[in-house]
Symmetry: C2
Subunit: 420 residues, 2 copies
C-alpha cells in the first residue's frame, strides 16, 4: 500500500473524528431534523441518484454480475422512497445516547455509566447502495461519524448518495464530514481503513463470507463480525407435527438468500411425521442433502441427494437443505456445536425438558423454541432498525440496533475525594 493512501485515509478519519465530537452532544431533535433532511433530499434528487446507479448497473451487467447481485445493486424510484422512509422511521426510535444507570458509593462518590456514541465507525460492504444510507443514518442517529467503503461495483451510486447526504446535513448545520465515502481510494483505501489503529473505533463488515473473513483476519482495529448463518432446525421426538412442518418450511423457503434461513434439518429418529415434512419440502422445490438414515425416510422423493461431510458445514443460501437423523437431543447438540456458526438454532418440541436442555446446551446468538429461525432480525424483534447481525460474542450478539453503536463512560462525581 502506498504511504499516500494511508495518509489520505488518516486525514479523512481525523476529519470524521472532529465531526464526531460535534455529533456527540447533539440533541435528539437536531439529529432527527438531519434525518428528515436526508429523507427529503433523497426523494428530491432521485433523478441524479438513479442516473448514477444506472452506470453501476450497466457496468455490472457488462462484467457478467449474477442476477442476484444485480438486483441488490439496482435502485428504483420505489426503492429510493423506501430508503427515505427508513430514514424517517429512525426519527421515531429512542435515542440511546445519554441513557444512564448509577449508584452512590458509601464514601459519597456518585457513580454513573452514561451511554455515549462510539465515535468513528468504519463500514466495509459490497454492491449495496441501500447500505450506504442505512449505515450513515443509523450512525447519525446514534451520534457517530462514518467512513464508508461500499465497493467499486456501486461506486457511482455511493458517490451521489454520500454527496446528497452530506449536503442535506450541512444544510441543517451538521458537519458534512459526519458522512464520508472512501470509495475513491479503492482496495488500498479499504486496507488503510483496516489498519487505521487509533483513528476509527470500530469496523463493521457486511457482505459475503470472504469479505468478512478478510476483515476479521486483517484488521488491526476492533471489528464486529456479522452475518454468516449455518442455522439448524431440530425436530425433537415430541414436536407438534403441524408446528414442525410449518416452521421448517418457513425457515428454509421464506427467503433463501439470508443469514437466518435454515440450512440443516436434524430429525429425531422415529419422528413419525418426518416423511410428510420431507415430502412438503421436496414439493416446495427444496433439494434435500440426506444422510443414510434420512435417505430411507426420503426414499422415492424427487430432489434428494446424498450428503457429504461438506454439506453439514455449508451455508447454501439457496433451496437446498442438509438433513440428518439423530438419536438424541445430545447428538443434535453435538452436531450443532461441530458445524453451527453461532447464529440461530431452533428446536421444535412440546417437551419442557427438551426445551430446557436445548436452550442450555446451544451456544448461539439466538435460540428459537417453536419458532422459525427467520425471527432473528432487528425489525422482527422490535429493535426498529438493524446495522447487522453479530455472530461474535463481544459487544453485541445477534441483531444490532442503535444501542450497539454506542458505548458507555463511567462518570464519577466527588467532592474532593481521594484514595486512602
Amino acid at each position: 500500500m502506498t504511504q499516500s493512501t494511508t495518509e489520505a485515509i488518516a486525514a479523512l478519519a481525523r476529519s470524521a473524528r472532529i465531526a464526531s465530537r460535534q455529533l456527540r452532544s447533539l440533541s435528539t431533535a437536531a439529529k432527527n431534523e438531519a434525518l428528515e433532511a436526508i429523507a427529503a433530499a433523497l426523494t428530491q434528487r432521485s433523478g441524479e441518484i438513479l442516473a448514477a446507479n444506472e452506470k453501476d448497473v450497466e457496468r455490472g451487467r457488462a462484467s457478467g454480475m449474477s442476477a442476484g447481485l444485480l438486483d441488490r445493486l439496482t435502485l428504483t424510484e420505489e426503492r429510493i422512497d423506501s430508503i427515505a422512509q427508513a430514514c424517517r422511521d429512525l426519527t421515531a426510535l429512542p435515542d440511546p445516547v445519554g441513557q444512564r444507570t448509577g449508584y452512590q458509593l458509601p464514601n459519597g462518590l456518585k457513580v454513573a455509566q452514561v451511554r455515549v456514541p462510539l465515535g468513528v465507525i468504519g463500514m466495509i460492504y459490497e454492491a449495496r447502495p441501500n447500505v450506504t444510507v442505512d449505515a450513515a443514518t443509523l450512525a447519525l442517529k446514534s451520534g457517530n461519524a462514518v467512513l464508508l467503503r461500499g465497493g467499486s461495483a456501486a461506486k457511482d451510486s455511493n458517490e451521489v448518495l454520500c454527496a446528497v447526504m452530506r449536503e442535506a446535513i450541512a444544510g441543517v448545520g451538521l458537519p458534512a464530514d459526519s458522512i464520508t465515502s472512501i470509495d475513491a481510494y479503492g482496495r488500498e483505501g479499504a486496507q488503510a481503513l483496516m489498519e487505521a489503529r487509533g483513528l476509527i473505533d470500530v469496523l463493521i463488515p457486511r457482505g459475503g463470507r470472504e469479505l468478512i473473513d478478510t476483515v476479521c483476519t486483517t484488521a488491526q482495529v476492533p471489528v464486529i463480525e456479522t452475518g454468516t448463518g449455518n442455522c439448524h432446525v431440530y425436530l425433537h421426538a415430541d414436536a407438534d407435527p403441524a408446528d414442525a412442518q410449518r416452521i421448517v418450511l418457513n425457515a428454509k423457503t421464506h427467503r433463501v438468500g439470508v443469514c437466518n434461513a435454515a440450512e440443516t434439518l436434524l430429525l429425531h429418529a422415529g419422528f413419525e411425521p418426518a416423511r410428510d415434512i420431507l415430502q412438503a419440502l421436496s414439493k416446495a422445490g427444496v433439494t434435500l442433502h440426506v444422510d443414510e438414515r434420512a435417505a430411507e425416510i426420503a426414499r422415492g422423493l424427487p430432489g434428494v441427494t446424498a450428503a457429504t461431510e461438506e454439506d453439514w458445514a455449508t451455508e447454501y443460501l439457496s433451496l437446498d437443505l442438509a438433513v440428518r437423523v439423530v438419536d438424541s437431543l445430545e447428538e443434535a447438540l453435538s452436531h450443532i456445536s461441530a458445524y453451527g456458526s453461532g447464529h440461530t438454532e431452533a428446536i421444535v418440541t412440546a417437551s419442557l425438558d427438551a426445551r430446557a436442555a436445548f436452550t442450555e446446551g446451544v451456544d448461539a446468538a439466538a435460540v428459537m423454541v417453536n419458532a422459525s429461525t427467520r425471527f432473528t432480525d432487528g425489525g422482527q424483534l422490535g429493535l426498529g432498525a438493524e446495522i447487522g447481525i453479530s455472530t461474535q460474542k463481544l459487544h453485541a450478539r445477534g441483531p444490532m440496533g442503535l444501542s450497539a453503536l454506542t458505548t458507555t463512560t463511567w462518570l464519577i462525581e466527588g467532592e474532593g475525594h481521594v484514595r486512602d
Copy 2:
C-alpha cells in the same frame, strides 16, 4: 511457527471448549464450591508454590530483571494468603450468568436476552503469577474456561499454580481442562493463541504497552484492549484550592506504577493556587516537566525540567508529571483529545458549566469530577473484582468485572410462529 504448535494449541482450545460446555450450566453454588477448593489448595500447597516461585525469582535476578518486575514476580506466604482470600471473596459476588431481560411481542413471541458465559477466554500476561489465579477464578465464576499464557519469566510458578487449581476443581467434580496453561509452548504458543480463530472467544492481554500493541495488531481473534493510561488532571479557574491540591497529589503520588495515576497536569491560566500546588508536588518528590508558562509558575522549585512534545504523550508510571498552562477549558479538551489514551480524565472545578462542558467533551473510559483519577478501579467502584481496565470502546469500557466476561443469547419462544 511450526504446524505442530498450532495443532497443539488447537487441541488444548478444543478441550477447553468441551470443559466450557460443562461450566455453562453449573449452578452458582457449584462454582463457589470450586473457588473454595482452589483457595484451600493454594494455602495447603503453598510450600510447593513458593519453591517453584523461588526458581523464577532466581532466574529473574540472574538475568538482571528490574526491582519492580522482581517484586511483581515474587510470591510470599502472605501474598499466597491474599490470593486465596481473593478467591473466597469471589464467592460472595453475584453470578451474572442467567440474568435476563425480556418482553413479549404483539404477535405473542416471548423474547429474552439471557446472560451466558463467553466460552473460552485466552489471557496473555507477563511475569505476574497472581494474574494466573486471578484470571482463572474470575473466568470460573463467570462460567468460562481459560487458556493462560503467563510468560517464561514466571513459568515455574504458573505451572504449579495451574496444577494446583486443576486438581482442586477436579476434586469437586469440575473438568480440569477449565484451566489450562500454554506456557510450555513458549512464544509460538502465544502466537498460535492469537491466531486461534473460531477456537477462542476473546483474548485479553494484560501488561506493558508493547505486549498490548503486539496482541492488538497481530491477533485474528476478538481482543479486549486493556490498560494504558495517560491520564490528565485539569484544574479549572474555579477549582477549590484545597480540593485541587489534594486531588493532584493523590492522582500522581498515591501509587505511581499504575494505569490510573495522573501523568499530565493542565493548569488554567491565572489559577492562583498553582504555585502552591507545584511546590507541594515538588516537595513530594515529583519531577515536573513544564511548558514555558508553567516554568514561570514553578521558578526556583527543585526538580523542574522543560517539557518536550514527547512528554505530553508519555505514560511515566513514575514520580514525573507533565505540566501545561491552558487558557480555556476548550484548550484543555483539545490537549486531552490529542494526547489522552482514553483511560481516565479529571476536572477539578466548582463551576457547574465547566463540569458539564468537560464531561460532554471528553471521550474516555472514565471522567472524574472533583475526584482522583485513582478511583478508576473495579474494587473502588464496587465491582468486587476486576479482570482489567478496558481502554477500548467495544464490549466493555473501563474496569471490567464478572459481567464483562459474559455475553447474551436471544431466547425466542413461540407456539409454532413463522414469518409472513
